[in-house]
């Protein structure tokens, strides 16, 4: 049992290492373009709504807290508390996705979706129009992949909740809770990097 717990946790850490490289590749490409076209990229931050971003950051930080409390409850064998915290975590996760959805809708209304070769208008700052497209592509890729991870996370929470209701976990066995918690925190941390990179850098420059 001990060895299994160890293995699963180590396995999750190795998996997160993979995830870091996965996001790292994107972050790296993003930062290279950011330094190549710093002004064009900075100009796009005018169209990012930091209210949504900040709200989502708060939501995720709270969800991390409830997740941590859930793992603690599992460790102490408090099954009811575990289920409650899992439900909270899921609610916050879903709230994040809903807010993200509103935000995407806002970009759509703003004509800031350069996908499918259309829905793109940057006449406010035409000098940056071309390179701002790259920024928005990255924005949608990075937040999209992150949202995908959130969806997987909510799915994981659902599985864990069902397992918890069936009484699978005990003080002695709660490995799945522990490693799902690791995953959840990782996805949160990715957002903690995404938020300043996509929303905040360049906001102070009044280019437009």
């Amino acid at each position: 049992m001990e060895q299994q717990f160890d293995s699963a946790t180590l396995g999750m850490w190795v998996f997160l290492l993979t995830e870091i490289m996965f996001f790292g590749g994107m972050f790296c490409a993003y930062m290279i373009y950011r330094s190549m076209y710093s002004e064009a990229f900075a100009s796009t931050s005018q169209y990012m709504n930091p209210k949504f971003g900040a709200m989502n950051t708060a939501v995720l930080i709270v969800s991390s807290l409830t997740m941590a409390l859930g793992v603690r409850a599992a460790r102490m064998g408090q099954q009811k508390a575990l289920q409650m915290f899992l439900i909270f975590t899921m609610i916050f996760g879903l709230a994040f996705l809903v807010i993200k959805g509103f935000e995407y809708h806002e970009h759509w209304v703003d004509m800031k979706v350069p996908l499918f070769g259309g829905h793109w208008d940057y006449s406010e700052a035409p000098q940056f129009a071309r390179q701002a497209q790259i920024m928005f592509c990255f924005y949608f890729f990075m937040t999209g992949f992150h949202a995908l991870h959130m969806v997987v996370g909510v799915g994981l929470m659902t599985t864990i909740l069902i397992m918890a209701r069936r009484g699978v976990f005990s003080k002695a066995y709660f490995t799945p809770v522990e490693i799902s918690g690791l995953y959840w925190h990782f996805v949160d941390i990715v957002w903690i990097f995404l938020f300043p990179l996509l929303y905040l850098i360049g906001r102070t420059k009044q280019l437009i």
Binding site: Q3, G11, V14, T18, F22, G25, M26, G117, F141
Partner: protein
Amino acid sequence: MSTALQDPRVVESPNYLNQEYGWRSWLFTKDHKRIAVLYIISITVMFFIGGLFAGLIRLELLTPQGDLVNSDTYNKFFTMHGIVMVFFFLIPSIPATLGNFFVPMMIGAKDLAFPRINLLSWYIYIAGAIFALAAIVLGGVDTGWTFYTPFSSTYSNTFVITAAVGVFIAGFSSILTGLNFIVTVHKMRAPGMTWGRLPLFVWANYATSLIQVLGTPVVAITLALVGLERAFHIGIFDPAIGGDPILFQHMFWFYSHPAVYIMILPGMGVISELVTCFSRKAVFGYPFIAASSLGIAIIGFLVWGHHMFVTGMSMYASLYFSLLTMLVAVPSAIKVFNWTATMFRGSISFDTPMLYAFGFIGLFTIGGLTGLFLATLGVDVHVTDTYFVVAHFHYVMVGGMVLAYLGGMHFWWPKITGRMYPEGWGRFAALLVFAGFNLTFFPQFITGYLGQPRRYHAYAPEFQVLNVMSSAGASVLGLGYVIPLIYFLWSLKYGPIAGNNPWRAKGLEWETTSPPPTFNFEKTPVVTEEAYAYAGQSTHEKVELT
């Protein structure tokens, strides 16, 4: 050689093959040995598909005019050859088959740490392979296996997305295998199996796993970006809106150069096993070979730019990549020297696996040294993107990896199946492969320096003689591949019973029955000696380590 009973009426002991029957028992198995067998079958199929394309390429290149197929078809041939061979044969070849089978056994474990994930990785591989094969059947891909932008993202009219999705998916199979190995080696070693006693094959697979886990996600995201760029017509790598096509190359090679070491490191691990067993002698410089595997894995991540010396990269970047590439050659050299030194005062036999090991040492040396031509800036400018490069990496990939794979298959075949292959045919095929290989690829060094660019459907007439030699060699090589396929299948039914340890080899995998029981060992083994203690108990002559 084999001291085993040759009476086919011997009742087989219960083993992983006769435990259960029927297709369900295979497709839903969690036994690492059965999964390894599934992988062996799958990659063999992929190998012959890739080989078929290679044969067609060589057939076309018999004449300089490009008159067998049209240039679109030819471009698809070499692309499919590359994609199938690299992503669906070479990368999974040793880790997913021999590694899957023997890493747990060598460390005295019942299975890998995550048997279900292991099965999942096979299904993911099959899903990826289906996409890749779908791309072939639907009409092919013509971007080259490197998917260079903006050709792949904007200009090609072929099934790039399908193929990229296939590679993307197969990448996750590779990641899961690597993850499984890392956790297994950390957590599942039998009592007494310290890190310093791990067989070098395990070390090599461990180092490979690190690359798989750290490198594969980067190429996955890169190909995802190319696929999305094609699907949504956006311009991450498209110069028309300010994207940088060279950035794609950086991201691609950041994985694909370490991927080269995914392909060769496990082969080196196999050779360490073969050389010791057939010299019946402890390996020379164990800590250096083990450390060099890790060294290659780490430095391998820092040298990707040597694929890009003529792209107009900055001078300092070029110098840096050139110098570090020289550095990464050192651990490879260390391995070759240590294998050779292991043979010194050994008791050397000439069984088929050892013939492959001889071949590997020689051909890998040539492959490695010609790699230095490409790392040397001034020479690389001339030879990059010519047949010199093609020859170089085939010396490493075929002369190295494929020979190691075949050597390993012959070595462990009696353990996997419980039967011996026919030794005479084995030696004959090994010589055929060696001769055919050299005839195929040595002339390509010359055509390369003469200036024949790679991926040419039609070529200048003065290169024809060398190309004909190459094509002739390819047919010999092809024969050399088919013969083992036939006698391996034959031996399943008619091969002599092998016995538990036909080579009198050291290593935990030889201490159990052949084929091994489902949980590998009757009871968990306890390790009390160093690896390769061929002289009975280890004499503990300390290696002078400082």
